[in-house]
């Protein structure tokens, strides 16, 4: 694995980093869509996640990285295991890059050529979706992704499992991942269905503050010169951040959302005319995760206010042409509902 930039050392882009942490705390919030200019550190931040998050426990030898806790539901490998307590191993959270030109074979998985050719064995070689199980799937320029891959992702992202019926193979394996997409909206639109699979959306801009920019360049240069030294320097800060996320992951299960806050969520979604209940559900989960991240004992409307624009602005039933105002529309409704 290539060296990744420490997450804690990322300067600026607070909203994006916050959104990534929120989905790390509660993956059920859904994916993160990052829209914005080039050269703003989108990819850097996403790839840094792998280092930031605590390693996960997996069933030893399972190609899909199943958790030992629920290895019964899902993959063939773990189902074939005799014991209830399989051997386990630790490995970093997968952050898988899905490049634009990837073939369907590569994404879904295909017949294992190595095995087929050398041993004459028909075996499934897992693709990127399998690798991303329990982790993150990152697609740079998601808005330019070919339609056939988009179709595939929409399905897998919703069902959490990848069903392969090709080349004489019939394989079903878990593929639960957090989808992270980035792109520049000027270059193409996102399909509404795919848009819907993202829980949060953030907009990134090139920082216009001089000191901030100097800082970015400085840190990047330091990293490029001596990656290991730089990472060692930031190890403490990274660990701290990791602890915070770990704590929040535990806390989020205990956090209750008061009924009046739920009512506020519903009111907000109603006022904005978002489709279906998914928006409310996402909003609720995101608010809770955000509160947990901030070590709150209770979820309050302040948390809702902070996270609502991210959870809602890409869901407005809107004129697809007019997306400049969606952030403001959410803000306005927030002010009205929370007034």
């Amino acid at each position: 694995m290539a060296n990744t930039f420490p997450f804690a050392a990322i300067v600026g882009q607070d909203e994006m980093c916050m959104a990534l942490q929120v989905v790390a705390v509660d993956p059920t919030v859904g994916g993160v869509l990052v829209l914005g200019d080039r050269g703003t550190g989108k990819s850097t931040a996403v790839r840094a996640l792998a280092d930031l998050l605590p390693p996960i426990e997996v069933v030893l030898g399972c190609p899909y990285g199943c958790s030992p806790k629920d290895h019964h539901n899902g993959c063939e490998h773990c189902a074939a295991l005799k014991t209830d307590k399989p051997k386990t191993a630790k490995r970093p959270v997968p952050v898988i890059d899905l490049p634009l030109g990837a073939t369907e074979d590569r994404v879904v998985g295909a017949l294992d050529l190595e095995k087929a050719l050398s041993q004459g064995v028909k075996q499934f070689a897992p693709g990127l979706l399998a690798q991303a199980n329990r982790g993150f799937l990152y697609i740079d320029e998601v808005n330019l992704l070919e339609d056939h891959l988009v179709d595939l992702l929409i399905d897998v992202a919703a069902s959490g499992e990848n069903l392969v019926e090709r080349e004489g193979l019939s394989v079903r394996h878990p593929a639960k991942f957090v989808l992270i997409g980035s792109g520049n909206p000027e270059e193409g639109e996102l399909r509404p269905q795919l848009l819907d699979r993202f829980g949060l959306s953030v907009e990134v801009r090139t920082p216009q503050d001089l000191d901030l920019r100097v800082n970015v360049v400085k840190r990047r240069d330091a990293f490029d010169r001596d990656p290991d030294g730089f990472k060692a320097d930031w190890a403490d800060a990274n660990t701290k951040l990791r602890q915070r996320i770990l704590k929040a992951q535990k806390a989020v299960a205990q956090l209750e959302i008061p009924d009046d806050l739920l009512r506020l969520c519903a009111k907000l979604c109603h006022a904005l005319g978002t489709d279906g209940l998914r928006a409310e559900l996402t909003l609720m989960r995101a608010t809770r995760a955000y509160a947990a991240l901030h070590g709150a004992k209770k979820v309050t409307s302040a948390h809702l206010r902070a996270i609502a624009p991210l959870a809602l602005r890409h869901r407005l039933r809107r004129n697809p042409l007019d997306d400049t105002g969606s952030g403001e529309r959410v803000q306005r409704s927030l002010d009205e509902v929370l007034a």
Binding site: T40, R47, L100, T103, E114, G120, N184, E186, G188, V214
Partner: protein, 575 residues
């Protein structure tokens, strides 16, 4: 200031010292002596140079299983991809402007991560390299995609180099020199004040991407090492600003805007003022301020004169040029969506899918009786052929009449109608191309795109007024339609006009001639045989539009009060 050729040679030396850190070179030049001379010198640098054709496939690019060897030896043989072979070297991309976007995506992913993952195998190889992108695009072509360009430190333009200039030869660094310089480079670092100055200049020039500032910083260090400086000097920074930041400028620095005619370093008056006030209050920051001004002056001096004109026209134009190219590149890929290969005989247009065929044959190798000397037994039942699902997408050409007669209330209404139309095409994943005509000119507001944000912007900024050059508009629309057809799409024209032509095909006034020309081009359109819709935007339809639409064999829709929804519905109908 050095001339372009000297700069190009200097870039070569810098590349030799630090190919990976500098990202590479964008070389904009047609085939010719200058480019050839430069490439020849590149070859003599002793760098590991890998030439990458733009039609390279994934297996070769990323590495994978070597099928023929694997089959003959009965064990898995993998081969390294081109990107892995180029480790610590240079990937040379001829015709980088035509590079398919999926290949580009793989290339950039490898460059970003410094690692390349093979196709179909688990192994990964280190892959750190520079890219030399050769760009032969003409002025109105999209050129090298911005996402590649911005990762390359050097933007060289050798289009206007004198033959005699490029005879000057370059002395490549010897091995010994190179190691010395590289070990010196490791110790060099820009001071915080210098970094500050670089970032400030980048902002003043409107260079938003932070990669540019990083590359400039790196180049300053490389240049310092080349010149045997023990620390990064002003001269090095100047060079970096000239090479990296100036070509990326998107706006004139504020201090120079007042005197755009003289790009030569004359930002002195404001600089002096700044310095005076600074020295009065706080003496320490005076030096970085002076440094920034000097760097800014260097940047201004190296801005090509033509660029200045473009910049003065405003940022809008350069914006459309720089972005959206990848969106356009997608058009050519819409011809077929690859399906998995299926069993069947090749021939009759179907192409053999070698990999799938071998895949089908591989598990059965043990069972089959092989002839002596035969390593692979492939039977006809193994044959697989390539399949594509072809769905021709359509592109709607919207021709908007922005003339005086249409301008007042109608234009706004027509814009509304087009908005709705765009929404529909968005849902259908069609693309849209918007042209506008008024006075004696027709303008492509927006080349075929699927980005509605851009379409919307293009429309919003459309001014009204002037004559009605219908003939010109139809001519332009025909050209567009043919180009779109070549790109594998079905064009569809929507004309929004009152049909009262009063500007001839030559762009002159004269109602009678204008009407005749318009009729001629309307008939020409009918000959092309593309579907079309004419929406009469006249307050009181006079029949002009109807006549023309009949000649075009277009559907005619009088719309004294353009009701947006009706227009959109009508378009859905003619599809």
């Amino acid at each position: 200031m050095q001339d372009a050729w000297e700069q190009a040679q200097r870039a070569l030396l810098c590349l030799q010292v630090d190919p990976v850190g500098l990202g590479g070179v964008w070389l904009h030049a047609g085939y010719g002596p200058a480019r050839q001379a430069w490439l020849k010198q590149l070859q003599h640098l002793g760098l590991n140079l890998q030439r990458m054709p733009h039609h390279i496939d994934h297996e070769r690019l990323l590495g994978g299983i070597d099928l023929s060897l694997t089959l003959s030896q009965g064990r898995v043989v993998t081969h390294a991809g081109l990107l892995a072979q180029a480790h610590q070297g240079v990937v040379l991309l001829p015709m980088a402007d035509k590079l398919p976007s999926h290949t580009l995506a793989m290339l950039l992913q490898a460059q970003d991560q410094g690692v390349v993952h093979g196709a179909g195998i688990q192994a990964s190889h280190p892959s750190q390299f520079a890219v030399v992108a050769l760009d032969e695009s003409l002025e109105d072509e999209p050129g090298v995609p911005a996402k590649l360009k911005e990762r390359l430190a050097f933007w060289l333009d050798l289009q206007h180099i004198d033959m005699r200039q490029c005879e000057a030869q370059l002395e490549a660094l010897s091995e010994k020199e190179l190691t010395d310089i590289q070990s010196l480079l490791k110790t060099l670092q820009a001071t915080p004040a210098q970094l500050h100055a670089l970032c400030e200049v980048a902002m003043a020039l409107g260079v938003d991407s932070l990669r540019a500032a990083m590359l400039a910083q790196r180049l300053a260090c490389v240049n310092a090492a080349l010149l045997d400086h023990t620390r990064v000097e002003d001269e090095d920074l100047q060079f970096a600003v000239q090479m990296v930041l100036a070509p990326r400028a998107t706006r004139m620095p504020a201090s120079a805007e007042s005197a755009p005619e003289e790009p030569t370093p004359e930002p002195e008056p404001p600089a002096d003022n700044n310095n005076d006030t600074d020295t009065d209050n706080t003496p320490p920051p005076a030096e970085p301020q002076a440094l920034e001004d000097m760097l800014l002056a260097a940047a201004l001096a190296s801005l090509p004169p033509k660029l200045l004109d473009q910049l003065l026209l405003g940022g809008a134009k350069s914006k459309t040029n720089s972005s959206g190219s990848s969106g356009q590149a997608q058009l050519s890929k819409q011809r077929g969506r690859p399906l998995s290969p299926r069993q069947g005989r090749p021939g009759a247009g179907a192409r053999l899918h070698l990999l799938a065929t071998l895949r089908a044959a591989a598990p059965k190798q043990k069972l089959r009786q092989k002839q002596p000397g035969q390593t692979v037994a492939i039977r006809t039942e193994d044959f697989h052929v390539q399949r594509f699902a072809h769905k021709a997408s359509s592109c709607i050409i919207v021709a908007m009449d922005a003339s005086g007669s249409a301008a007042l209330a109608r234009l706004a209404e027509a814009k509304g109608a087009v908005d709705l139309l765009l929404q529909q095409s968005y849902a259908r994943r069609d693309s849209v191309c918007v042209i506008a005509f008024r006075g004696s000119q027709v303008q492509t507001l927006l080349p075929a795109t699927r980005s509605l944000v851009r379409a919307k912007k293009a429309l919003a900024g459309l001014p009204g007024g002037g004559g009605t050059p219908i003939a010109l508009a139809l001519k332009h629309a025909s050209e567009q339609a043919l180009a779109l057809q070549r790109a594998g799409m079905t064009p569809l024209l929507v004309m929004l006009s009152d049909g009262k032509a009063n500007v001839t095909i030559e762009g002159l006034g004269g109602r009678t001639q204008a009407q005749e020309d318009a009729m001629k081009w309307a008939q020409q359109w009918a000959r092309l045989g593309f579907a079309s819709l004419w929406i009469d935007t006249a307050v009181q339809p006079t029949g002009h539009a109807q006549e023309l639409s009949q000649a075009m064999q277009a559907r005619y829709l009088p719309m004294p009060y353009v009701a947006s929804q009706r227009v959109a519905d009508a378009i859905a109908f003619i599809r």
